[in-house]
Structures are given as structure tokens and as C-alpha cells.
Amino acid sequence: MKQKSVLGPVFLIGWLILVAPLYSQEAGNDSTRSAKADSADVLDEAELEKELARQLGLLAGSETDTSATPQQPSAPAISGSVARAGSVLNPRISVIGTFFGSGTGNEAVARTVDIGLSEAEFSFQAYVDPYTKADFFVAFGREREDPFAGPDEEAANLSEYEAELEEGYLTTLALPFSLQIKAGKFLGAFGKLNHLHPHAFNFVDYPRLYINYLGDEGLADRGVSINWLMPNPFDLYQELTLEITSGALGGPAFQGNSKDLLYLLHLKNFFDLNDDTTLEIGLTGMQGPNGIERYRTRIGAVDVTLRWKPLRMNRYKSFEFMLEALLSRYEAGATTISSKALFAFLRYQLGRRWFLGARYDYSEFPDDNQRREKAYSAILSFYTSEFQKVELQYQRGLPAWGDAFNRILLRVVFVMGAHGAHKY
């Protein structure tokens, strides 16, 4: 065990020694831009033409005659619209690779050391027309053992990559009353973490709360999501989301059946405490079938995120605190099992490229509140640039069954292409 837990840091140090001096690729925000961004409607006629086209529903993107720029005769035609040949009409494409290494002590897993590419995620994003936008995320991933679940020979020896549609949805852009509708398969509006892809997490593994209640990859179900930016006299950001999904992909707490659906309601409240500090408080309620006859599971959850990042030196210093907690009521015939789970995460930025984090996990199980899992993690992250990060995580796990174990996880996430901004 001792030997194995040393592997992780060895990976990281080796990686840093090999690659750190070469890190000269930090870089900016280059990528394809919306082709319809810069039409130069200089002449009134051109404007009129556009206006008419818009009225006729022919839209907006049609480039007006850019040669007609009498107001700026001195300006050469090298304005913003220098397009990448051939890619103008393609969606925005990016590939995100995740390299993974782990060393696990005890006999918690069959494969105590593991290394390799764990996932390649392809994303495609574009406006469909003036009214909608589409996003697709396809991942090729390799399943791994979960040390909390005990050794799993089959998973340990899987070496094939399986393709999966992580998300694929259409979003409306122009509905009245600040409404927005999303339809397809998407990451549900549960808590704070769920709508992020795991490569964007500031730790390597999913918190136990997610794995034990919503599934190995969080709540990613197919259906419809309607959200409403609630107008209020204080100009506060309050967003109410209602999701109706199949329930088939809802994870351990839910099992879809053909007669019931999963309903989720999320209220997001966002406050600017001052220029440098923000607070987000989210409330989630959900209910859906749990696979036992016609019974249901109900979950109530709260998420709190506090962020501090001074505007002036925003690349050097920051602090983040995140807490998510849930209560679950799982109906099983005559009895209802109440259980709970939570995780808390802290992250402090040490310097421009270094972050130190800590996470605590506590989780019961939807159908068993007598057993619990706990985990303590410490995470060190190094950002080589905006497009690559290296994370090293130590974790002490106290599984519900079996002995406590120690493990070291290493992850390198790298991005190619124009990956859109993540939500704040």
C-alpha cells in the first residue's frame, strides 16, 4: 500500500519535470466567431434591406455589402471578419482530453494502479437559427472501478472506450417573458455541480452525494427544461427552473418506469456582495419513480457557493467555498427511508497557477440510512495555461462496506479548439 500511494506524486512530479519548462502555451480567446457577427449596415438602404429581411423571417445573419463603407474610406477591409477558410459555417468544435492515473491502497479495488486516457469529450456548439442554439457533447470514456463499491474485476479489466452522448439539446433564445426552454438530453439543474462536466470540477472524482443518489455521471436525463429569469424590482438574479425528464437516467435514487416521470424544480439566487465577492444559494426539489412498483423518491437539496476574487488582480488570488446537502425520502412499500448526504469544498489560490483545495464527503444511501460513506480529500492543482491543468488528489475513503483506504488520483485535462465559457 505504501508503495502504491507514492505513485501519484511520482506521476505529478514526473509530469511537471518533463513538461513544466515547455509550458509556453497559455493563450487567449481565439476561435471561430459567429459568422453573422459583423455585418456593416452603413447605408440606410442596407439597413432597410436587413430590416425587411428580418421582418420576412429571413434573418439577420445575411451579410450586408461590406464594400459600402463610405464613412471610413481609409480603413482597409481587414476588420473583424477575417474568417477561417472552410470553417465559417461549422459549429464551434472542441476536444477535451482527460488523462488519468490512480494508485489505491488496501484491497479496495482489483486494479490498484491505473493509468491512461480516461475520456475524450467532443463538443459542437452553434446557433441553429435566430431563435435557437444547439449544443452536443459526445464522450468516449473508459469505465473505472469505484473503490467505495469494492473490487470489481470486470470494470478493472475493461479497456474499451465507449461512446456516449453526454448532452445534446436545443436552447431557445427569443422567448418572451425571460423564458428559456431546453429540450433534449442534458445535465439537470440539480445543485451547483451537476450542470458542469467533470473535467471542469476542481477535484478529480465526483462527490459521493452525486454517485450514491444521482449516478456515476450526475443527473443527465432526457426531457425538457423550462427556466424563467424572475423579474424583481431589485434586479437580483433569480432563476426558476422546471425540468421534466424520463427518470430513466436518474441514478440510484430513481428508476424510470413507463408510467411516471422525474420532476425537478430549482431556484437559483445570485448575490453580488461586493465587487469581489459573490454568493449563490440554490434550492432544489425533485421527485420521480424509484423502480419499486409505483413508488417514488423525493429529494430536497440546498447548495451554497461563496466566491471571492479581487477584480484588480483576478488571476493571482481567489477563494471559493461550496456546500451541497440533500435529504431524500425513498418510498419502499409500507416504509419510507429517509437519508442524507453532503459535501463541502474549499479552494484557495496560492498564486497565478497554483490552487489548494480540500473536500469532505458524507453520504448515506437512498435505500439504506444505516450505512454511510465518508471521504477526506486534499487537492493540489496547477494550471499550465487556460487550456491545461494538472490535478493531484489525495483521498482517504471510509466506505460503507470494507476497510478504509487511501488513494492518490492524478488528472490532466487539456482542451483543443474553442471551448465555450463555463457558467459562473
Partner: protein, 323 residues
């Protein structure tokens, strides 16, 4: 929990409404509400729009415009905006798309009437040649060219034209006012620019070192030369090896001034200065970077003053102005 939240909301409500100073839709019913990504664009929009506009800039002047957090509260501003103006050229790629997606305001989306890409018709510098997919190997390179073009006052006139077109498009009935404002903005720029160039003329050709490549447009307009950067490649933090090279070059060529943006750590620049006896001067990258830089004219006034002070402090002798 609930009562705490309500209390927080109430506190926030006061703060927010205090800060907003009447930008709500009720008051904005007549004025156009213009949201811009950086304060410089807001200042130009104010100059052209005059009393007909109310502006809000998302980034602060002392903030790195490449890295702004897309806070949901900005979506509320964008939701109410009549006009949205961005620098473009992918400068804001990391934060504007998600704000626009969340704002649910189709009137300000790219291509719509209330959208302005201020880079339109602006002649750009440093458009990289070669295969764009290989560019990240060069560091923080912008595919479309260097995006800091607002740091040339004459290009500011083109920005003003772009905003003017959009304002007229939205409120043709105020066209005469917008035209008048635009003309007076342009002639003031012309007058002031001549003045600024004259003041720097005695130091024409003075070589200086910059921290990051934010200043090519300022350098092109005004008579000084940026010969080296403290960053080894744009966006890459300085390495000791590169600093040694910079120090050597500065000593050999007698370079005595280093300029830096307010949002970068001054540590490495000061280190180099200590080794070479150079003066480190913090220039403003945007309106609002320092107190007193309240509009687009103040921005250049401040930077020119700072540069001249630095040249004097570094003991650079002004030359006769006949060249």
C-alpha cells in the same frame, strides 16, 4: 435559512439599487440603455449618445478584459440593454457568450439591431499569418489580430462611428443629436491627439520594455518604441531565463523604462528594474483604471503624462523637436 436569505436579499436590494442609480426600465424608457464590455466603449457611447444614453460597462478599468467572470448579475444588465457593444476579435470569448446566452435578450445578439462589434472597419495590427490551429503554441495569440485597438485615439473615432450607426438605427429620431455629438467627439480627438503627439515628440524613438503586448496601437500612434516584453510569450508568466535576456538587452541598449498594466503582478518588472536601474510605470489600459480617468480623453492624458514623467525620472534627455 429562509429568513437569512430574505435579509440578504433586502440588503442586496439596497446596495444594488444604490449602485444602479436609476438604470431601471422605468427610467430608461426614454434613454437608451447601452451595455459595453469595457469602460472605454461606454465612454465613447456616452460621447456619441449624449443625454440620450445611459451606460454600463461590465469590466472595470483595472480588470484584465481577457478574464472577466460571467457573473449572472451581468445577465440582468444585458437583459435590459437596448444596445450591447463589445471589443470583438475574441477578446471577450471567455465570458461574453455565456452572458448573452443567459440574458434572454434577442435584440442584442450578434447580428441583431442592438449589437455592435466595435472592431468593425478598424484596421488591425498583428494579424497572425499561418495555420490558426497552430497559434496557441505562440502563447496568447488572437487569430484576428491584436484586440487592444481602443488604445489608439484615432481608431477611437472608428469605434464612435460604429456606435453612432447603431444608435441611429435604434433611434433615427435623434439622428441630428447623434451626428452633432459624433462630430464634436471626432474633432476633439483630432485636436487632442495632435497635442499628445507633440508633447511626446521630444522623446521620439525612446525604446521601452512592456510587460504584456497590450500596447501596439498606442505605440503606433505615439512616438516611442516598445522593443521587448517581460513575458516570454503573450500570456506566459516570465521565466528567469527570459528575464536574464531582457536585463541584458536593456543594459546593452540603455533601455530605462518598463510599462505594465494595472492587472499584472509587478514583481518581475520590479526585479528587472532593480537590476537595470529602469523605471517601472503603470499605464492605464482602460478608462477607470485609476481614479481620475473618467473618460476616453482622460485615458490618453493620463498615459501621456505618466510616460513623460517616467522618461524624465529615468533621466532621458528631451531632444529638439525638429525631427
Amino acid at each position: 435559512m429562509k429568513s437569512l436569505m430574505i435579509r440578504r436579499m433586502a440588503i442586496m436590494a439596497f446596495t444594488v439599487s444604490g449602485l444602479m442609480t436609476l438604470q431601471g426600465p422605468a427610467v430608461a424608457a426614454k434613454k437608451l440603455f447601452v451595455v459595453t464590455t469595457i469602460p472605454d466603449l461606454a465612454s465613447i457611447a456616452e460621447a456619441v449618445g449624449g443625454d440620450h444614453v445611459e451606460t454600463f460597462a461590465i469590466a472595470k478599468g483595472y480588470q484584465d478584459p481577457h478574464f472577466v467572470d460571467p457573473k449572472p448579475s451581468y445577465m440582468i444588465k444585458l437583459q435590459k440593454a437596448d444596445l450591447f457593444v463589445q471589443v470583438g476579435l475574441d477578446l471577450e470569448l471567455g465570458w461574453v457568450p455565456s452572458l448573452l446566452d443567459g440574458a434572454r435578450n434577442p435584440n442584442i445578439l450578434p447580428g441583431a439591431k442592438g449589437y455592435v462589434d466595435a472592431s468593425e472597419n478598424v484596421p488591425l495590427l498583428e494579424i497572425p499569418a499561418g495555420d490558426p490551429t497552430q497559434l496557441r503554441a505562440q502563447g496568447d495569440i488572437h487569430v484576428y489580430g491584436n484586440p487592444h485597438y481602443w488604445l489608439d485615439p484615432l481608431r477611437g473615432k472608428i469605434i464612435a462611428d460604429n456606435i453612432h450607426r447603431a444608435l441611429v438605427r435604434l433611434r433615427p429620431e435623434w439622428k441630428a443629436d447623434f451626428n452633432r455629438n459624433l462630430q464634436s467627439f471626432k474633432s476633439k480627438i483630432d485636436r487632442k491627439t495632435r497635442e499628445w503627439i507633440e508633447r511626446l515628440q521630444p522623446y521620439s524613438g525612446t525604446p521601452i520594455v512592456a510587460f504584456h503586448n497590450s500596447w501596439p496601437y498606442l505605440e503606433e500612434r505615439f512616438p516611442f518604441d516598445i522593443v521587448m516584453f517581460i513575458e516570454p510569450k503573450p500570456g506566459i508568466p516570465p521565466t528567469p531565463k527570459h528575464l536574464v535576456r531582457v536585463i541584458k538587452a536593456m543594459k546593452q541598449n540603455n533601455i530605462r523604462v518598463i510599462i505594465i498594466e494595472p492587472y499584472y503582478s509587478k514583481k518581475s518588472a520590479e526585479l528587472v528594474a532593480a537590476k537595470t536601474g529602469a523605471v517601472v510605470v503603470e499605464l492605464a489600459g482602460s478608462v477607470g483604471a485609476e481614479p481620475g480617468i473618467d473618460d476616453y480623453f482622460d485615458l490618453f492624458e493620463y498615459n501621456i503624462n505618466k510616460l513623460i514623467d517616467a522618461f524624465k525620472q529615468a533621466g532621458i534627455q528631451p531632444r529638439a523637436t525638429e525631427d
